[in-house]
């Protein structure tokens, strides 16, 4: 057991999966010699060779399309896209190809591809380098979407994603790449895709979040009166959504606050609020609250902290919901 950052935990998962399976191949811009723009793949090319850790040209559509072709033939590619904004050029390949092959091929071809993408704001970067587009891909049948919030979960979820026969977009919240360390077992382990985690148990109100914002939620809990018992759920997988976990919790607490970085309108929070409305209607004692990014272009760093949900905004919303 070692104390690892998110970056180190992901690097360890990649190393172990490449060790275990010759079909795992990585490709992306600067992932080899340079170890990736965030150094997540540091040392992997030296260890596994340029045949398996491939420095690709700067061509996102080409990278993802090639990786899909590789997956169709039976490899298990793990391409990296440098920033979530650069998924734009690859969008066609993801949505029109990766997501649809299984259906189109009568189930005879699956696309076991894991697209690793740093996501979200908080590193003083401009837009296209700070966005949270998870809802776009959740809205795409055929794709699974994962976003861990801790090194331990990241390792287990990434191993699950690489072994999963379906296309997975693995969002890595870049803000917490090196924000803290956590004990991560050396041995390989998996965390099931589609399972949320109860970070804190409570009875009065449910907070649901995912990715780096989970940490802001933890911070917000410290700002609340001690007699308010809050249950904090880390979704971990954005799709498929662990509906049972959410429904059970809100049926118990009767109150719910959803927190995410992405813009509010048609964000994943809207879908979760609807699931709760559909299944917990009789238990609800307050309207479902959302604390989100705003419906605007992600601002450059001077306004970044105004945009991102912070502990104060979250705590305020929790108190309002609890007092209703």
């Amino acid at each position: 057991m070692a104390s690892l950052t998110l970056v180190q935990a992901i690097n360890l998962a990649l190393t172990q999966e490449m060790e275990a399976d010759d079909r795992v191949v990585m490709l992306g811009e600067d992932i080899g010699k340079n170890g990736g723009v965030f150094r997540v793949t540091e040392g992997l090319q030296a260890r596994f060779g340029a045949d398996r850790v491939i420095d690709s040209p700067l061509a996102e559509s080409g990278i993802i399309g090639t990786a899909i072709g590789m997956a169709m033939a039976g490899l298990r590619p793990v391409p990296e896209i440098q920033f979530e904004g650069f998924l734009g050029p690859a969008y066609d390949q993801i949505v029109n190809h990766a997501a649809r092959y299984r259906t189109r091929s009568r189930g005879s071809v699956t696309i076991p591809i894991t697209i690793r993408v740093p996501v979200g704001g908080g590193i003083h970067a401009p837009e296209l380098h700070s966005d949270s587009p998870e809802a776009i891909y959740v809205h795409t049948p055929g794709i699974k979407v994962v976003m861990p919030s801790s090194p331990y979960d990241a390792k287990g979820l990434l191993i699950s994603a690489i072994r999963d026969p379906d296309p997975v977009i693995f969002f890595e919240p870049k803000r917490i790449y090196r924000a803290f360390r956590e004990e991560v077992p050396e041995d390989e382990y998996t965390i099931p895709i589609g399972k949320a985690k109860i970070v804190e148990s409570g009875n009065d109100l449910t907070v649901i979040s995912w990715g780096a914002t989970v940490l802001q939620c933890v911070e917000a809990l410290d700002k609340l009166p001690e007699d308010l018992s809050v249950e904090l759920i880390d979704l971990r997988t954005c799709y498929p959504i662990d509906q049972d976990c959410l429904i059970e919790s809100v049926n118990k607490t009767g109150r719910c606050v959803i927190v995410h970085e992405a813009p509010k309108t048609c964000g994943l929070g809207a879908e979760i609020a609807t699931i709760i409305q559909e299944h917990c209607f009789l238990s609800l004692r307050a309207p479902v609250q959302r604390v989100c990014g705003f419906d605007t272009i992600m601002p450059y760093y001077k306004l970044e902290l105004e945009y991102l949900p912070n502990a104060d905004r979250i705590a305020e919303s929790i108190l309002a919901c609890a007092a209703y």
Partner: protein, 411 residues
């Protein structure tokens, strides 16, 4: 295969005949080394595609086929000639005008027609339709509706083929690369060198993905041949109006370090003679290729094309060089005598045999239509959510909704 050892080499024509045919002093072409039966099969394959497409048009006009439909008539030699030059296990990927590719790769006319009818016994249970013919056992990795986007998939298929041959072969106990999604524990047969055929239309030359893919293929040395089925039009825009360097497309490939060739796609024998050694070289050297294959579609872009962009005379001019007629003429001309296109007659097909073949094919396609008519429609409860995920974790909201129905359980 050398000429001296070729077991099926036909008797060579006399030098006098060769002189007349303009082939004096040249060694036999690849197609001349093939047995008559192979050439007759090619003719049959082309005729099957044409008959199939005629019946497809009729079914479409009767509203039996939904959506859009792109007819391959006129381009048959392209797919038959290029497939003949590669192995059955070489991967193939193509664009949306794909019925010919499916049939020539070995998909049954039944499965192909039923797919267009949206029926359960179609190649994708009627979920893909005309543009998405997929046939895994025949190594056909799909028709694709997004113009040019399949070029990257071709690069990926070629990468996997090369990786299999170059990397996995060396690893003892390496998994078999069969796409099953599970590490295979059965013994591994060493992978040979493969070459992927990636077809695209001339319109795809203007898409970004095409250029990314050629760069990747050139850079990494991927054994993929980009076969441009250059029918002169991207929908209603002629290639001169939409594409730079339309008269010399191979220069585009040269920019990516790929040596391209131009081929007359209306003469199957010339096509094969030029493409076969080219494909062999790409396979042997594990390098990409690019072919400007000049062909022509007789029908509109799709069934709803008013065709204002070309004249009837233009279409007629190409129909006079019809690839099926040309090959039939060569096969029917007296053996060794000069025939159409500078080829030597084969004298292996009589008028009567040709007509028999036509009758057989008509019947075969008629039965395919009948099969499609009778095939059941997919049942929503059975099929709506199948084959979306290989590993559907519990809580997939869509599946849940389906079983619960539209009615909320609280209501």
């Amino acid at each position: 295969m050398s000429a001296a050892t070729a077991p099926t080499m036909p008797k060579m024509p006399s030098s006098e005949t060769l002189k007349q045919a303009g082939r004096v002093g040249s060694s036999p072409t690849p197609s001349q080394l093939l047995p008559d039966a192979t050439l007759i099969r090619w003719l049959r394959d082309m005729m099957l595609i044409r008959e199939f497409e005629l019946r497809t048009m009729a079914a479409y006009q009767q509203a039996k086929i939904g959506g859009f439909c792109h007819i391959y008539i006129g381009q048959e030699a392209t797919v038959v000639g290029t497939f003949a030059a590669v192995n059955h296990d070489d991967p193939v990927v193509t664009a949306y005008r794909d019925h010919g590719h499916a049939l020539a790769r070995g998909m049954t006319p039944e499965a192909c027609m039923a797919e267009m009818y949206g029926k359960l016994h179609g190649c994708a249970k009627g979920k893909g339709g005309s543009m998405h013919m997929f046939d895994r056992p025949n190594h056909l990795y799909g028709g694709h509706g997004i113009v040019g986007a399949q070029t990257a998939l071709g690069a990926g298929l070629a990468f996997a083929a090369r990786y299999d041959w170059e990397v996995l072969n060396k690893a003892p106990g390496a998994p078999v690369l069969d796409g099953s999604g599970h590490p295979a524990d059965r013994p591994r047969t060493p992978a040979g060198k493969k070459v992927c055929l990636c077809y695209l239309g001339d319109g795809a030359l203007n898409q970004g993905c095409f250029h990314e893919s050629l760069n990747l293929a050139g850079l990494f040395g991927l054994p993929v041949i980009y076969v441009v089925e250059n029918n002169g039009y991207s929908m209603g825009t002629s290639i001169e109006r939409g594409t730079t360097m339309a008269h010399n497309l191979v220069l585009k490939a040269a920019g990516y370090g790929i040596e391209g060739i131009e081929i007359d796609g209306l003469d199957l024998l010339s096509l094969y003679d030029k493409f076969k050694p080219y494909a062999d070289r790409c396979r042997e050297n594990q390098r990409p290729g690019f072919v400007d294959l000049k062909t022509y579609r007789y029908q509109g872009h799709s069934m709803s094309d008013p065709q204002k962009y070309r004249t009837k005379e233009e279409v007629q001019k190409y129909q006079e060089r019809d690839s099926i007629d040309r090959l039939a003429a060569v096969l029917m001309s007296p053996k060794g005598e000069p025939a159409v296109g500078g080829h030597l007659g084969r004298g292996c097909l009589s008028e009567e045999q040709f007509k028999d073949m036509q009758r057989e094919i008509k019947e075969e396609v008629r039965l395919a239509v009948e099969f499609a008519e009778q095939s059941p429609s997919p049942e929503a409860a059975e099929e709506l959510y199948t084959d979306v995920y290989a590993n559907p974790q519990p809580g997939l909201s869509s599946i849940r909704d389906y079983h619960h129905g539209v009615r909320n359980s609280l209501l």
